[in-house]
Symmetry: C2
Subunit: 234 residues, 2 copies
Amino acid sequence: METTTHPAAPDSAPYAATDRTVPTRARERAAYDRALVHAILDESYVCHLAFVRDGAPVVLPTLYGRVGERLYVHGSTGSRPLRMAGAAQPDDGADPGLPVCLTVTHVDGLVLARSAFHHSINYRSVVVHGIARPVTDPEEKRTALDALVEHVVPGRAADSRPANAKELAATAVLSLDLAEVSAKVRTGGPNDDPEDMDLPHWAGVVPLRKGYDPVVPSADLAPGIEVPDYLIEP
Amino acid sequence: METTTHPAAPDSAPYAATDRTVPTRARERAAYDRALVHAILDESYVCHLAFVRDGAPVVLPTLYGRVGERLYVHGSTGSRPLRMAGAAQPDDGADPGLPVCLTVTHVDGLVLARSAFHHSINYRSVVVHGIARPVTDPEEKRTALDALVEHVVPGRAADSRPANAKELAATAVLSLDLAEVSAKVRTGGPNDDPEDMDLPHWAGVVPLRKGYDPVVPSADLAPGIEVPDYLIEP
């Protein structure tokens, strides 16, 4: 899914920290490394996309895809954030766009401390701030939709019928550049206070299961179509 | 975690739909049933909490708990949304509070259709709109913190050292009433177009694994402390 020509070629330098991407708490957990950010983004199935409507925040889960340093979300041309992004016209005459915050979170484990206070979770998250802009170029739109399918199951875009003209017209796509970005990661066991170490409570980490359960083929699947290799976990 | 006296006793009527909780798309997937909403909320580990800062949306993952028809989130007294909720003072002289949107999403399965366009996911989500208010009553604060621990692992609040006065003072808690709430659920297989049914692509659902992997006890766990029953899955 990486491209070197579109969008602007990524470099290997970390993302620059900004006022919005430096957390007020647990700063030691914040990271700006591109490879880490990409890995966290590529492993999740949905993001949570926030925008402001009538002055109030709204956050909705949605599928997304990544191409280099650009994310894509899509939806019906009638959906609210998609319409808002296309309709919003800042006073300064700049491009249309919708200020958004896009967050991806993996919960990796439950951290059980001897004290209630030190209970936590092990997680990896990415927060992206920026302006979501409608994708109007047909070629970029197709690339984005392929990336969305590839994001769900790598290898799948080539093994499905591509979108036709009618489907492309019915689908709105927004792009969001990876510019103001941070990751946050917690790993390891509980951080109990020294005076709690002898309390009679179990302490440790409960990892959450990942991966696929056995697939469920469609009842009307044509005979002879086997489960594709990209669905078989190593 | 259910109480009948605090907060206001829930009734069994569904949540009333509002302009914000009726989706513009896929309305047939929206639901307002309290039992369904509670079940979706109780099964997740983190929510995504959105608020507006300097006119722009922010969405962050955070732990939460539920007590009846009220949700709680917590954080350091120095964290940004917690400070904002305590500081915000509307012009009308009403209580302090922070307009938020709190969303919980389960991704249950990947839906692979024969066409790229009909790819989807099976999910269950809840979106809550409202005003997050600081919890100042010490008794409610303690109830909220218990609910947060119980939310991570039911049965755990009673098997850990309760928060002491210093920890309570360092922790800020916000409450959010379940009033403007909707759920959205997708289940089942792909919805391919009739003319695509004979294409040579596998179609079906890939369920995602749920539950715990084997627990990892702390290295410094005192001898003789066994894995508690509430961590052993049925």
